[in-house]
Symmetry: C3
Subunit: 272 residues, 3 copies
């Protein structure tokens, strides 16, 4: 079933409208293309309504704090059309400004999926502000000891927001109010490049665009695809004695070449 | 003759002023450098007039819809100086906003070259709005069947606008009112990365900057260089089992290492 | 001693707040991560004060001319906290606008380090405007003949501004009012990609963030690390017959894999 999600992205070639930050925008566009989707990255408030109207998914990434108004216009239009909206609360806990933007977006827009690292999700769930910039705080890290309570947090936040909650880290969690997947793919090098999180969110956008009725399965499949791709890229990087910039390329390469067999053999997933 | 165009870029090292979008700006700067030019990417309306005044070419890319006013100031100054102006009407048919910006720029600025995919050029020529976001609509694709009528469209649009028209796709067309080149280089992977089109336009900017009296030949030569580079990169990507992100690097690599021999052996060009 | 500077970056993992341009922002974030730091790239005036308050270093890069106001707010806050501020006067001599921004920033903010190419540093020091866009003017180039007078220029400018002055080029100079290092690492290919200078400045930010009491040694160490990494990347690029885009990746790769042995064996440094 999960493997079908990727197949569907390649078949549907969903147009994914992304309002995002200038740091990782190129990587986000390229990973959507690598998966089989078609990205359009505009944040101009004068056209976002029109662009959303022809798109299969909308991704909102508050790395760009100056486009919140365009996000609201785009998000409302997406909601009208039942077009999936994926939210990335980048550095949600790092400033009052971001806290305020998150609150406003959560109030105005019905999100389909919210993906963040554990510090960002906690900031959304509890208003805590423990982030270290854009990275998760080490003391927040999801471990085997706190996995169960973190899954519970995700389910509760899903019940409250109506959105699938994805918490990414050494272990990824994707949960709705009723059930959760725990995905144990990926590698440590993903935290040594900028954009791993943003690309993951963009990928969820493509997967939801092609599978709009299955946001939880689409998110879990996207987690598996980027996680396994990370492992393949990590192996290639180590074999070649390469470093973090090559790793980034190999990660996107792996998504572009992803096979059904890699999915089936590589995925480490449990339901919770 | 066409091969001279590249030689001239390396000799003149033209300063190319680019007003462009934030998605592919880094790739555009790097491909200009790879070809031998020197890029400067400012869109600040307070300085564009001054920057154009020291530049050998100006490239305007409406992926960034919020810099249209700066584009007009820069374009008018370029026209005064007889500095070539290359226009990329990104996603011209995708919104009313972009349609309006195109109309305004076409009215205010005399372009030297206009490069787009077939959907973008049709949007300019006929006001049609068939684009799928930033990509060409499949039903628009240039084929052997409609090649002659597409060449005719390009020549007519050139007569009307006074600009060389470049239509990029599986087959590239470069035409002025009197004659056209059809260039059959490139590869399918170019449509699987973001920025192929923007980089092509940036390259035309560098070629026109170094060869201001020959915009048609410069455009055709730029098409050959990026097309042959795409083929070389495609071959390397396949040999290495790599993917789309490595392909992007190999494409820019190939431009930076391009030889006279590669040009002469690789080019597939006809006049029409 | 200098090698300790890098060790300290990896140990402290400094949060580096960067206000920079959209052309090379991704490379800057990735090189900070490669060195062991944690980058955050916001320029929103509503949050920069708060972000600086949790950061170990601030980097201001005027490639983005539209964020000068945010730079002043951030810089003043950094000064209050004794948080190092590293300044990159990109294309300082290329327009009146940039000249004015530089003057204002120099008046309002006490910089810890200023890094530019020779044309940019001369623009700061003397108000001259000889730059060719973002690149140094060939007639300005630092040579063995004018090395001594250039070191003197750097020391004088340091005495006047209170900042360590770093002049990058074929030969790098790092100087305070009393002493200077001349670093002879790096390679010609660094000038064939966009962002070499911006990445160097970002790296100085990470090094100063982890070694706030030693801005001169931190700057010299950063020069050695990026220079030796450039040499390693250049060698790999040549061996593989690769080009400029692969070189960029190998440069960041080398920083991410940098060893104590590479530092000690590779560094070519003299005091002046």
């Amino acid at each position: 079933m999960l493997e079908q999600m990727l197949k569907q992205v390649r078949k549907e070639e969903p147009l994914v409208h992304v309002i995002t930050n200038f740091v990782t925008v190129n990587d986000c566009a390229n990973i959507i293309l690598a998966a089989g989707g078609s990205p359009i990255m505009t944040s101009d408030i004068r056209e976002v309504e029109e662009i959303v109207s022809i798109s299969q998914a909308l991704v909102l990434n508050i790395g760009s704090t100056d486009t919140a108004d365009a996000m609201i216009v785009a998000g409302k239009r997406a909601n009208e059309r039942n077009c999936p909206v994926v939210f990335d609360p980048v550095a949600a806990g790092a400033s009052q400004l971001r806290k305020g933007i998150c609150e406003k977006l959560l109030k105005e827009i019905q999100f389909t999926v919210i993906r963040g690292n554990i510090s960002e999700i906690k900031a959304i769930a509890t208003g805590s502000r423990s982030a270290k910039g854009v990275d998760a705080n080490a003391t927040d890290a999801v471990t085997e000891e706190n996995l169960e309570s973190t899954v519970k947090l995700a389910k509760h936040l899903s019940a409250r927001t109506g959105a699938v909650i994805v918490i990414s880290g050494a272990v990824d969690i994707a949960a709705d109010a009723a059930q959760a997947y725990v995905i144990r793919n990926g590698c440590q090098r993903m935290s040594r490049i900028t954009g791993s999180g943003c690309m993951f969110t963009a990928l969820i956008g493509a997967f939801c665009g092609a599978n709009p009725s299955y946001p939880l399965a689409a998110s879990a499949a996207a987690a598996a695809v980027i996680g396994i791709s990370g492992e393949l890229a990590d192996k290639k990087t180590a074999e070649q004695g390469a470093g973090t910039s090559s790793f980034r390329n190999y990660l996107i390469d792996a998504v572009s070449n992803f096979t059904k067999e890699q999915f089936e053999r590589g995925i480490h997933i449990e339901t919770y």
